[in-house]
């Protein structure tokens, strides 16, 4: 049954007790096993609220009015306990510090496990495994607050992974990071995908993620405006313009090429794809090589 899928959001609407209008309007969204889904959209679109709803923090920790349901592996989140939810869905926020509580990276990663009363041996194993996955094995004794932005975010991801969630949701995990930090976190995300973990990421700048995203979901005003293939999204140029979603530069180039010459069937969404396309369209290197020799 489709409700066994990692996440099924069904005719779901939500308004916070404090908000004047619905923040999410009749959302329908399914996330499949092993999928890497990117959610994007302008500020205030409802992306964070959707993340909170998919991990069950809404309705458990927020007051508001709910319509419809969110199912995690077939279980209605409003009926699951926090601890059951915690072992199914992990969440990482934009500001990693907002979830830090302890004085060492190791304690931080172990915190959730302690709450679930996981036996000590297993806890050690899971902390080590999670730390290894995000490459922070050498930081376990450090205090979270003295780390760089990228390191902090990886600690937050490790803390979520240690719970062995079946789905990991990340809300703008690179939003506050410098270029190195971003690259570190993107590398971790790619690895999670390769490990087969189901991942949902909220992001504004897509060019780093599009090369390996399975699906793009565009939100605005609490609604889903697009849900489907990444490349196909960017191919619909006039629609993309109305959304304000930044088009990766190489994709923009691909759209130009498609209009200018024949033979551009697939627009590029990564630098490598653009390079291949250009080599095919204008065998520059070989041409120049010949003329200069």
């Amino acid at each position: 049954m489709s409700y066994r899928k990692p996440i099924v959001v069904k005719s779901f609407s939500w308004r916070y007790a404090t908000s004047q209008d619905w923040v999410l309007h009749d959302i329908n969204l399914e996330v499949n096993e092993g999928e890497f889904v990117v959610i994007t959209g302008p500020t205030g679109a409802g992306k964070t609220t959707l993340c909170l709803s998919m991990c069950g923090l809404i309705p458990h920790h927020y007051n508001g009015i709910i319509r419809g349901n969110v199912y995690v592996f077939g279980n209605d989140t409003s009926k699951l306990s926090s601890s059951d939810l915690a072992s199914l869905v992990g969440i990482v926020f934009q500001d990693p510090e907002s979830q830090f509580l302890t004085m060492s990276v190791e304690d931080e990663i172990a915190f959730g496990l302690e709450n679930l009363a996981v036996p000590l041996d297993e806890m050690r194993e899971r902390v080590a495994e999670a730390a290894k996955l995000v490459k922070i094995e050498d930081l376990l004794d450090r205090a979270p607050y003295e780390l760089s932005g990228g390191q902090k975010q990886r600690v937050a991801i490790a803390a979520a992974l240690a719970m062995k969630p079946k789905v990991l949701i990340l809300d703008e995990p690179t939003g506050q990071l410098d270029p190195i930090g971003k690259e570190e976190v993107v590398a971790v995300l790619k690895k999670l995908k390769d490990e087969g973990i189901t991942v949902v990421v909220v992001e504004h700048i897509l060019e780093e993620l599009t090369p390996f995203a399975d699906r793009l979901v565009l939100m605005n005003d609490g609604r889903i405006l697009y849900d489907g293939d990444v490349r196909r999204f960017f191919e619909n140029e006039s629609f993309v313009k109305t959304t304000g979603v930044p088009v990766p530069q190489v994709t923009e180039l691909g759209l130009f090429l498609r209009k200018t010459v024949a033979g551009v069937n697939k627009i590029p969404i990564s630098v490598e794809e653009a390079e291949d396309l250009l080599e095919r369209l204008l065998p520059v290197r070989s041409v120049v090589g010949r003329s200069s020799s």
């Binding site: 653009a274 065998p283 200069s292």
Partner: protein, 280 residues
């Protein structure tokens, strides 16, 4: 751009009280009307440098002159008349109960007449289409709007030079471009714009000059084109040029004379070549 030097740092060094050397012998000259980006990873000294330009930090060695003033001798308010500084986190500077009051705070402190205050606040709100928030408490607004309020509250003091620390953090792309367009407009009116950012695409599209910082020193200082075509230094600073510049670096023979910074640059270069039928 004129010949008037608005910022001149000579062997500027800053050692924080905890012993961290944040700036080491920085030499930098910025002229009136420049649009300059300061880039580099966290901890490279960007913000420390920016805080010397507004006099919040004083050199521990070397010196810096801002609009002719030695910042060690000038008061912060004297510098504030010339240099506006927008913090990375808008909440670090917002302190009043309404947006209007927030915008009036700076010019009042500088002794503007109430008439002048009204005029500058009104004009600035209009510039950002924020009139509707005039009576709203700044903290009731979203982060993106708070950032714009912070920017406005500096602009009302009519500074000649604007230092903006990460103007687009927490904004979506449309809002980021809005902020950058405003900076561009202010630059067009003759203001000197110095901005710090991690977004290389915005550097490529808006700045004319870029300074790469690393370990408290300047690694490279030049036109944006020059800086982004120096792949070796870019890599050393652990930065990444915009996608299109990166792509161009793999087709060096085509772009030997001019590094493209925008998709348009790239297209106009390859367009003539595309007319010919492919050899394959």
């Amino acid at each position: 751009m004129s010949d008037e030097v608005v910022v001149k740092a000579k062997n500027l060094t800053h050692v924080y009280s905890n012993g961290v050397v944040a700036l080491k012998n920085v030499n930098l000259e910025i002229r009136k009307g420049e649009f300059i980006a300061i880039i580099g990873h966290n901890g490279s000294g960007k913000t420390t440098l920016a805080k010397h330009i507004n006099g919040l930090l004083k050199p521990t060695a070397g010196e810096i002159f801002v609009h002719g003033m030695d910042t060690r001798k000038a008061t912060v308010s004297e510098i504030a008349r010339k240099v506006g500084y927008v913090f990375q986190n808008p909440d670090h500077q917002i302190c009043m109960r309404t947006v209007w009051e927030e915008l009036a705070f700076g010019p009042r402190n500088l002794g503007f007449s109430e008439e002048e205050v009204n005029k500058t606040v009104k004009e600035t709100l209009a510039l950002f289409n924020l009139e509707k928030y005039s009576d709203v408490h700044p903290f009731l607004l979203g982060k993106a709007d708070r950032l714009r309020i912070a920017l406005c509250s500096v602009l009302t003091m009519r500074p000649e030079t604007l230092v903006v620390d990460e103007p687009t953090t927490g904004q979506d792309m449309r809002q980021s471009y809005e902020v950058m367009e405003t900076l561009k407009k202010l630059n067009g009116e003759g203001k000197t714009i110095i901005f710090i950012t991690h977004n290389m695409r915005l550097v490529a599209e808006y700045a004319r000059r870029a300074v790469i910082m690393s370990d408290g020193g300047i690694l490279l200082d030049g036109s944006v084109e020059e800086v982004f075509s120096n792949t070796e230094v870019i890599a050393r600073a652990q930065l990444k040029p915009p996608q299109i510049t990166l792509l161009a670096s793999r087709f060096k023979q085509l772009f030997y004379d001019k590094t493209p910074l925008t998709v348009n640059d790239f297209c106009s270069k390859i367009e003539p070549l595309l007319g010919k039928p492919s050899q394959r």
